[in-house]
């Protein structure tokens, strides 16, 4: 243990508010209505002993190619605002769709993507399958799974049996 070791500290409230304002403008590259804050992937914002701002980012799906883009976008936005920012990967606790904010869920629905059902929590429940998603257009809960995998790693494809429209479902994972 180094004699002059010090710990990372939380930024002052006014700086934190400014950081949140900046991050609220950084969009998910694949679902641009969601910000990185809505996704629930920003795990910490700390001033390190060396004075640099550390952003803890949790990867979404292990295989999502957007993870690298998200990290680069976050750093670019913070640096453009004058912060000497570095990113840290945060693996635990793992990100899941339960981390999506309520605001994020509303934005998804308005965008035409059915938000994930809540508290999928246990792997056992996941194995049995999700609760059927409600159609984001007409709200019907009679829907049919078309494909467990969709256009991006976070989505599955459903069809509404009432209005017959296909729609994306943000996977519960």
């Amino acid at each position: 243990m180094s004699a002059h070791a010090t710990r990372a500290t939380a930024p002052p409230p006014e700086v934190l508010a400014r950081l949140h304002g900046i991050l609220a403008q950084v969009a998910d590259p694949e679902i641009p209505v969601l910000s990185v804050l809505d996704l629930g992937i920003i795990r910490h914002l700390e001033i390190r002993p060396d004075g640099r701002l550390e952003v803890g980012i949790a990867p979404t799906y292990s295989g999502c190619p957007a993870n690298a883009v998200i990290k680069a976008d976050v750093l670019r936005a913070l640096r453009a605002a004058g912060f000497d920012a570095v990113a840290a990967d945060v693996l635990a606790p793992p990100w899941s769709s339960d981390w999506l904010s309520d605001e994020g869920r509303r934005k998804l629905l308005a965008y035409g993507i059915a938000p994930p059902s809540r508290a999928v929590g246990s792997v056992r429940r996941l194995r049995r399958g999700d609760v059927p998603a409600a159609c984001p257009r007409c709200g019907s809960t009679t829907t049919t799974l078309q494909s467990e995998f969709g256009s991006t790693p976070c989505k599955a494809l459903y069809r509404c049996d009432a209005c017959l429209e296909p729609f994306d479902y943000f996977k519960c994972l």
């Binding site: 606790p93 467990e148 994972l173």
Partner: protein, 249 residues
């Protein structure tokens, strides 16, 4: 430390090789949904492999990263399970291989999520959800094919008979497993068998398939002795990197 490194490297290799196999389906799967499905499973496995390689590199402490591990090792330096290097052949073989693997990986990650290696536990906790999702997909297909037409039933029955012998290796403990498990940094391969069997037997029943007799011979991919198929896979996967050493995007 060496046993821990090898333990993690095996997991990374197993994921990478299967990700590469599944990637061969892109543009060739029987339907668009399956093209997407197999590619997405491949991406998840690859993403987990990258985390595992980074962890293995840190444990080894010689500065090797994912590219060195993936592109600059020979066949005998790969320690993946022999099951995952078996060729795709047809959709039936691919689904049976995937199902047998997913059931194993789901059991493995659930156990590893509680191990004392914090990084490995975190990767496993995340991977457990993904493995459960993959298993739902591959098990769903196995039931559809097994309980489908006489043709599809006969095809997957044949696939199961062909691939079953490779599952034996998944549950054989060796010195590396024992060393990692004794420190709480891994789990004994043999301890995964009951939960794997429970999952496999349930789905085989729904798919009207009969569990084959236990294999009478072993494979040793996880010790670097492979079937004839891995060399070709590596040749294709590594050719670009080896032709242009040090090239970056």
């Amino acid at each position: 430390m060496t046993a821990r490194f090898h333990y993690v490297l095996r997991l990374a290799d197993t994921n990478l090789v299967l990700a590469q196999r599944l990637g061969e389906w892109v543009g060739h799967a029987p339907a668009l949904e399956e093209d997407l499905g197999l590619a997405n499973v491949s991406l998840d496995l690859l993403g987990q492999a990258r985390l595992l390689f980074a962890h293995a590199g840190a444990l080894e402490g010689r500065g090797r990263g994912e590219d060195e591990f993936a592109y600059l090792r020979e066949e005998s330096e790969y320690f993946n399970m022999t099951l995952v290097e078996q060729p795709n052949t047809d959709f039936g073989d691919t689904i049976v291989r995937q199902f047998l693997f997913d059931a194993w990986q789901a059991a493995l990650y659930e156990s590893l999520a509680a191990c004392r290696d914090a990084t490995l536990a975190a990767i496993a906790a995340k991977g457990a959800r993904e493995a459960a999702y993959h298993l739902r997909y591959s098990a769903g297909w196995l039931v559809r094919l097994g309980d489908g037409t006489p043709e599809s039933h006969a095809r997957v029955e044949h696939s199961l008979a062909k691939l079953w012998p490779f599952t034996h290796e998944l549950f054989v403990d060796d010195d590396i497993d024992r060393a990692a498990a004794s420190e709480g940094m891994g789990v004994l391969a043999s301890t995964l068998e009951p939960s794997w069997s429970a999952r496999v037997d349930g789905t085989l029943g729904s798919a009207r398939l009969v569990r084959p007799a236990p294999a009478t011979f072993g494979w040793y991919g996880k010790q670097g002795r492979h079937s004839e198929h891995l060399g070709y896979l590596l040749a294709e996967m590594q050719s670009l990197h080896r032709a242009h050493p040090g090239a970056t995007w």
